[in-house]
Symmetry: C2
Subunit: 464 residues, 2 copies
């Protein structure tokens, strides 16, 4: 990989001529684009461009390519591992003004959107068609960013991740070509799967400017439930039993005892105990949901689950899921002044109980407070490690806990990141996970970004 | 891409020393490995190797790499587009002796198999665990070959294709490194998706030697049904309605009137009319299946469907599906002495009726007999074009019809191959489908197979 030493200086006049006031070098705009949500360190780009079309993105890329200016693509800035930091300066290309839903087809159950459309905006627009897009990472991320980080979230157990739900892309290559990948067909066996190669590439191979998505009809009935367990193994045994029975759960979320302690205080969950808990959601026809509920309740009770709390009305459901989704705020509220570091282990569900129990013991040994929530239907869980960002020793302890949690997932046959990605923050862990495969990833990277200008310093640890 | 002129001569002594009688240069073995099932032309390899371990495959690859000998991977030989022909000679590496199921985990719902295990063997072994692997291309293909061609089949509407069901791979690179891709976790956001890059790469990037697969619990209840329609649009409108309602169909297969004519004669389907027909399968709990059946029957009747025929007993179901799966034989039996050429168009389901109606009119204009069946839940259908392989004019007419059908799918937003792949036979159509993306595929190909020894002449049309 050739070194990247470019700065935007030489291309600023051309950029300004093309973009006018859609190019910013102001300090505050640069700082707004200098970090995402998970990593506190700030690396501002030298300038921020706000293109409005594929052709503008391509023209900008050609300029950057000719002068070896690093490019950092930027969606909504909600990524968690420092994906959008401008580690080597260069130009941030914000897709925020490419925010149109280009086409919705209820008959084909698909749509085409520009990369800057956010998830909530898209779903608001789809509702009138009786449709929705199910990938739900929590944050109101941009669809382009979700594709670039292979996002998933609470509904992946039923609907899959961005990997399964992106049909095709429009990509601008680092040398400024506009390329379509995939088709609108549900499946294809023609050629190398470029769509899946760009999904999860974190802006290191090119810029995703448009996304073709699979859509789903809004479910007739939605029901939620909560069930509490005497211990972690019981909750996870119930999860395995539910998955083995093939019950098409919409969501199965685990919340550990410490996290319940914090949620009960913050979200006023009266009547719930500080026990390992499953939050469950069912979607389908009334009869299908009723049957699923019955089967799941039986599976939970067999494992010692109790206190089944049903929520059929939207406002009850919303209260339960708000409690689950507000764990981040509940934690920060519990220990004011602390920062929170997330982990993202994902393992085969058969190893999940072991992984979580070892991790809870590890947390206890560190003396840190680190509640745990999990998308357990996928084998994925997060610690929210609370630490003092101004105390180097405590931050190092938090980093150590996070690193050990990632290594544990790898050792158990899993991955150090189920859904947050690598960014600048997990290069070492990912390299350990990939082994020799890292050299193949670098070969692909060099083939598609020979100058190394696309989001340098992210995703792939340099080879020795 | 450097030219490949190597022959196995210089490495034969070393291969023989390594493999003994697991290396064959006999005429009949070479001819058995010189073609698959769909393309009649024979291109035998110079020799066939039968390795038994990753290490042997790697050692063979290193020899071939050092002497630029073309490598053609071979599974069960059931591919349809000439994937396994040795167009430039070289060495065929058969994975048939790597046929062990290495690990089955009912708790994790996954397994690891060697590439040469066939689909039916795997499912026979899984049954005792209460599990199954759902990807069903019809033929008893090898799992490695199914991964290499991104196979799917009748159950993809419910369970997805190999793309969705391969968790990870062991790949031997053309220079003889053994690389693991993916993990056992259900999802991962770490690094470039090499697993999906090798799935569907048709042996052009490396040799798939082991596959980690997702598994599913055997369904409690399976039910099948047949419904007949007054016309193609009615049958496909019913299909769209069923998909929009989110009914989790296990299979939805379309058979056109001409194909029904042939099936009724061949498979003695008493009581059925020569009308466009849907073959349906339901899987799940008894209550879920009963509800799905009711909803589907209502949707079909609303579109004018009639003659609902239910099959709950295994032997009734088996009779129906045998009739569907034996269309190939029904067609050849109808016109003895003819050969059959398959097409593989796949379009958004909203365009499927248009695509099928235009194709039926095209068939009529050619004067050829070409019945049609389709995995319509995926928007995928096949013509079985009957032609005289010894009549160049008739073969050209068949090729023309096949080409126009592929082009029609591309024009309607789809793909020229939903599941059979490109092999040596569809290079032009695939190039038309990919446009500029073909140059990116070539960049990846050159990065991972710089000498161009992996299955040369397949998958990617040379760039101008």
């Amino acid at each position: 990989m050739p070194p990247v030493g470019g700065t935007v200086g030489p291309i600023l006049p051309a950029l300004r001529a093309m973009l006018g006031d859609r190019l910013s070098t102001g300090q505050s705009v640069r700082e707004q684009h200098g970090r995402g949500e998970g990593v506190p360190d700030l690396y501002p780009p030298e300038a921020v461009a706000f293109p409005e079309s594929n052709e503008e993105v391509a023209a900008i890329a050609r300029l950057c390519c000719a002068h070896r200016v690093p490019i950092v693509p930027f969606g909504a800035g909600t990524s968690l591992e420092g994906h959008v930091t401008a580690l080597r300066g260069g130009l941030c290309i914000s897709l925020s003004r490419m925010d149109r839903v280009l086409e919705v087809s209820p008959d084909a159950l698909d749509c085409r959107v520009q990369a800057g459309v956010t998830r909530l905006r898209l779903n608001a627009e789809l509702r009138s068609h009786g449709l929705f897009f199910p990938v739900d990472p929590g944050a109101d991320a941009s669809i382009g960013g979700m594709a670039a980080t292979r996002a998933s979230g609470t509904a992946a157990v039923r609907y899959g991740t961005m990997r399964e739900n992106v049909l095709g892309l429009t990509v601008v290559t680092p040398d400024g070509r506009i390329v379509r990948t995939g088709t609108r067909a549900r499946k294809s066996a023609t050629g190398l799967d470029l769509t899946r190669l760009y999904v999860g590439s974190e802006g290191t191979l090119g810029l995703i400017t448009e996304v073709q998505l699979r859509l789903y009809g809004l479910p007739e009935t939605v029901s939620a439930a909560v069930c509490q367990f005497p211990g972690v193994p019981a909750a996870l045994d119930a999860t395995v039993a539910i998955l083995q029975a093939g019950i098409p759960m919409a969501r199965i979320e685990f919340v550990n005892a410490l996290q319940m302690h914090m949620c009960i205080r913050y979200s006023k969950l009266d009547g719930m105990a500080e026990l390992p808990t499953l939050f469950l959601e069912f979607q389908g026809s009334p009869a299908a949901v009723a049957e699923q509920v019955e089967m799941v309740q039986a599976a939970c009770e067999e494992m010692g689950g109790s206190g089944f709390l049903w929520a059929n009305r939207p406002e009850e459901r919303s209260r339960l899921w708000k409690a689950r989704h507000h764990t981040y705020y509940a934690n920060l509220h519990y220990l004011p002044g602390k920062s929170q570091m997330g982990t993202d282990a994902c393992v085969p569900i058969s190893a999940l109980a072991e992984c979580i129990l070892e991790t809870e013991a590890d947390v206890a040994a560190t003396g840190l407070l680190a509640p745990l929530v999990g998308h357990v239907g996928d084998g994925n869980f997060h610690l929210g490690i609370l630490f003092d960002a101004n105390d180097p020793e405590e931050r190092a302890r938090a980093e150590g806990l996070a690193r050990r949690t990632g290594k544990r997932a790898i050792r158990l046959g899993g991955t150090c990141s189920g859904e947050h990605g690598i960014g600048m923050h997990k290069l070492d862990l990912a390299a350990e996970e990939h082994g020799e495969a890292l050299s193949l990833m670098w070969a692909v990277k060099k083939a598609l970004d020979p100058l190394g200008i696309m989001n340098p310093g992210k995703l792939l640890k340099p080879l020795d």
